[in-house]
């Protein structure tokens, strides 16, 4: 009964894009389907109940939906498109950004696909997804379905346990000043300026009310939580906005106040307050990010340039001489060795290629056996948040609703 209802609902929901209805605003805000949908009957009822409970526990604890869907058919869609649409149309995803990961397995063509959404697109990057897939796909191939799904869930939980939830750090708009688009723009500006500034994180925190706390206490609590991208070795400056009180505060940690002087902070607060008063929250926060960046850059310049100018020429000339001498040594060594070798022409032969009978090689066995695959990742030097897959087929893609998803697909 339960499965029959699930199937009917799923078919109805999948028909939505076919009818030309693909408006994001009409997508469900609450999850319509359970985290486990087994239309392929790969699991027993007992297994389903136990595994569903496990998925719900992980999703609840991690604040990120981890779902497994086993449809009977893909309805003519690709595995990736089906997974993306299924995710959106059934309202999967945790929080306003709909964070989650969904595994779709279809026995019809033995397809599988993973679909990530919201912040989970960043948490489950390509390398992470590959490593997860390498763990569960062989089990699917062997018909160990429950074991495969449990492996998927366990690996996801492990990733989520270690995830760096950066979005919270640079911008926490708890007071709801920004819409989704503005939020992304501001977040990108804060991230970018922080990275370029190098020594200091630039943060915007909005709260409905500080609830009796001072802005410094509130920000310091976050600063000392150790969850910032730059860690404790970097300075931090935050614009704290108390919506109910209508107040802006520029708060720094104990090291950033070397360059965020009282005058600087007052200026930043005034600028933000003016723009917020005009209803331009996004402009206020971006202005704050830019002004803070200029102050940090000015400090960098004051502390960096004189040292280089004062000592640069002498130090650099010596350095240049060492490099030149090294180049001279290497070139001379090579040239004289080549000249010496001109005098030596007696040498033994190591092989017998000259006496190989042409076309006499007959291969009796030629085997190329696949052993394993692994993916390593290293952070890019210049980070942006605008990229897609970057040349890899498993990169970003969009569902019928136009929502960005991550994930891979393949056969098992």
């Amino acid at each position: 009964m339960k499965k029959g209802f699930s199937l009917l609902l799923a078919l109805l929901l999948l028909a939505v894009p076919m009818l030309g209805i693909a408006d994001i605003s009409e997508l469900p805000t609450e999850r319509l389907m359970p985290l486990l949908v087994d239309e392929g009957n790969l699991l027993t009822d007992e297994e389903e109940i136990a595994f569903l409970a496990e998925l719900e526990r992980i999703s609840s604890e991690q604040k990120c939906d981890v779902a497994v869907v086993i449809p009977r058919t893909l309805g003519g869609k690709s595995a990736t498109a089906f997974a993306d649409d299924y995710y959106d149309l059934n309202g999967y995803g945790y929080g306003s950004t709909k964070d989650g990961i969904l595994l779709m397995v279809c026995m019809e063509e033995r397809d599988y696909a993973t679909s990530t959404a919201g912040a989970a697109q960043d948490w489950f990057d390509d390398a992470t997804l590959y490593n997860i897939e390498n763990a569960f796909v062989p089990l699917l191939s062997e018909g160990k379905y429950l074991e495969a799904f449990e492996t998927f869930a366990t690996r996801c939980e492990r990733v989520l346990n270690n995830v760096d939830r950066r979005e919270v750090l640079y911008l926490d708009d708890a007071a709801g000043f920004l819409n989704e688009t503005d939020r992304n723009v501001v977040l990108r500006t804060l991230e970018s300026n922080s990275h370029v500034a190098g020594i200091c994180d630039i943060v915007v925190l909005t709260v409905p009310s500080l609830g009796g706390q001072s802005a410094s206490e509130y920000a310091s609590g976050l600063f000392s939580s150790g969850v910032y991208r730059h860690g404790s070795g970097y300075d931090k400056v935050a614009l704290v906005v108390d919506r109910d009180a209508g107040m802006c505060y520029c708060v720094t940690d104990s090291t950033a106040n070397r360059y965020f002087t009282a005058d600087n902070c007052a200026s930043l607060e005034q600028d933000a307050a003016t723009m917020l008063s005009n209803g331009d929250a996004a402009g206020a926060f971006r202005q704050f990010a830019s002004s803070a960046y200029r102050i940090i850059s000015a400090f960098n310049g004051q502390n960096g340039s004189p040292t280089v100018e004062r000592h640069g020429v002498q130090i650099f000339s010596f350095f240049r001489f060492v490099i030149a001498a090294f180049v001279g040594l290497i070139v001379t060594l090579n040239v004289t060795n080549a000249l010496k070798n001109q005098l030596k022409s007696v040498k033994t032969q190591s092989e017998a290629a000259n006496y190989f009978v042409q076309n006499s090689l007959h291969l009796t066995e030629s085997q190329d056996l696949y052993l394993a695959r692994h993916v390593t990742s290293t952070p890019r030097v210049t980070e942006t948040r605008s990229g897609g897959g970057g040349g890899h087929s498993g990169g970003s893609h969009f569902s019928s609703s136009g929502i960005s998803h991550g994930g891979h697909s393949g056969k098992f």
């Binding site: 990057d125 000249l339 030596k344 007696v346 009796t364 897609g388």
Partner: protein, 363 residues
């Protein structure tokens, strides 16, 4: 007393030598030329007709002391009766008294008869020019070496080689990787896929030469390679006339390890060449190279040998009598070597410093 073989001109009776330019036997006195096969037939007919003398004449002079002739062979020249003394491997030489080329027949009797010989294609003049050319362009060669180093002796020598033919059955296992890289907005990725490769196959090698003479330096002989064995002909003693020759004193069995060592590397290399270049790395993990069938031929290969002495040290040079490849280590002018080090080192250092300064100014 061992028997000597001389080829005499049917026209004038003088000694005949093998001409590398004509690839024929030539009489230096009457300029007559004879094809090797024709001369052999003539020689055989003559020998059937003539009454065989019981033995060549006994040497004159005092008797050898007991043991004094160990490792030594004494021959009597059929032209002048002069005594030719050589070591136990000497197979062809020239009479020191009349200059006629002589061949020690006993050195080619029975198992000692070579299967093939590669005739000389280049003569003594070519060897001299090869030596002069060998000295050109050597910046660290002492200048006085060119003027003071005079070739003591140039000898055309047929060096005994064992020529190994082998059918090989081999299997090599490799570990290979393919890498693919891409980037997304945050990370650079490298995907490494690992494979186990197996290649088995059969192949043939023909005429891998191994020096069969202890007198010849193995490295010197191998440096002269390759020899084109497609030009090898069935052995005829006539080819040796006018040249020196040794018989082998290293057996085929003793030469097998050297041939196997070279064969193994080339076998692995041949199998490696069947692996497509789509792999980023290919590392051999294990190899089995088995010689299914092998044969050794005894061959004489042509080498011009030259010796010179300079500053009390002897230098030996050799030229491939077939291809003209010239080899031989040369002395080094240590003063010139030091000058190159100092002047080039300073020059490059100054240039590199100036270049960096110029680039720095531009930036």
């Amino acid at each position: 007393m061992s028997e000597l073989l001389e080829y005499k001109c049917p026209c004038c009776g003088a000694g005949l030598t093998f001409s590398s330019a004509l690839q024929k036997m030539k009489c230096e006195y009457c300029d007559s030329e004879f094809d090797v096969e024709t001369l052999k037939a003539y020689d055989d007919a003559l020998k059937k007709a003539e009454k065989k003398d019981p033995e060549v004449s006994a040497p004159t002079g005092s008797d050898w002391e007991p043991g004094e002739q160990d490792g030594m062979r004494i021959y009597s020249c059929e032209s002048c009766g002069g005594e030719v003394i050589g070591d136990e491997t000497l197979a062809a030489s020239a009479c020191p008294f009349c200059g006629n080329p002589v061949i020690m027949k006993a050195q080619f009797a029975g198992d000692l008869r070579p299967d093939v010989v590669v005739p000389f294609k280049l003569d003594k003049e070519a060897a001299k020019k090869g030596f002069e050319k060998h000295l050109l362009g050597k910046r660290l060669l002492p200048k006085v070496f060119r003027s003071q180093a005079h070739i003591d002796e140039i000898k055309g020598v047929y060096v005994p080689f064992w020529l190994f033919d082998a059918d090989v059955d081999a299997t090599v296992q490799y570990h290979a990787t393919q890498t693919r890289s891409w980037s997304d907005s945050r990370n650079n990725y490298v995907e490494t896929t690992e494979y186990s490769l197996l290649r088995s196959g059969t192949m043939q090698f023909s005429g891998i030469p191994v020096d069969g003479s202890k007198k010849m330096d193995d490295a010197l002989m191998e440096s002269l390679e390759p020899f084109d064995l497609s030009e090898a002909v069935s052995f005829q003693t006539a080819y040796l006339s006018g040249y020196f020759a040794d018989r082998y004193d290293v057996s085929a069995e003793e030469s097998i390890p050297r041939a196997n060592a070279r064969l193994r590397i080339s076998t692995e290399s041949a199998l490696h060449s069947t692996i497509p270049n789509t792999y980023s790395t290919v590392t051999p993990k294990s190899a089995r190279v088995k010689t299914v069938d092998s044969r050794a031929r005894y061959g004489l290969l042509p080498v011009w040998l030259m010796n010179t002495t300079w500053n009390g040290k002897s230098y030996r040079f050799a030229m491939n009598g077939q291809t003209g490849k010239f080899i031989g280590d040369l002395p080094m002018d240590k003063g010139a070597y030091a000058r190159w080090w100092v002047l080039l080192g300073i020059g490059v250092t100054v240039a590199a410093y100036a270049l960096m300064t110029a680039c720095s100014a531009l930036i």
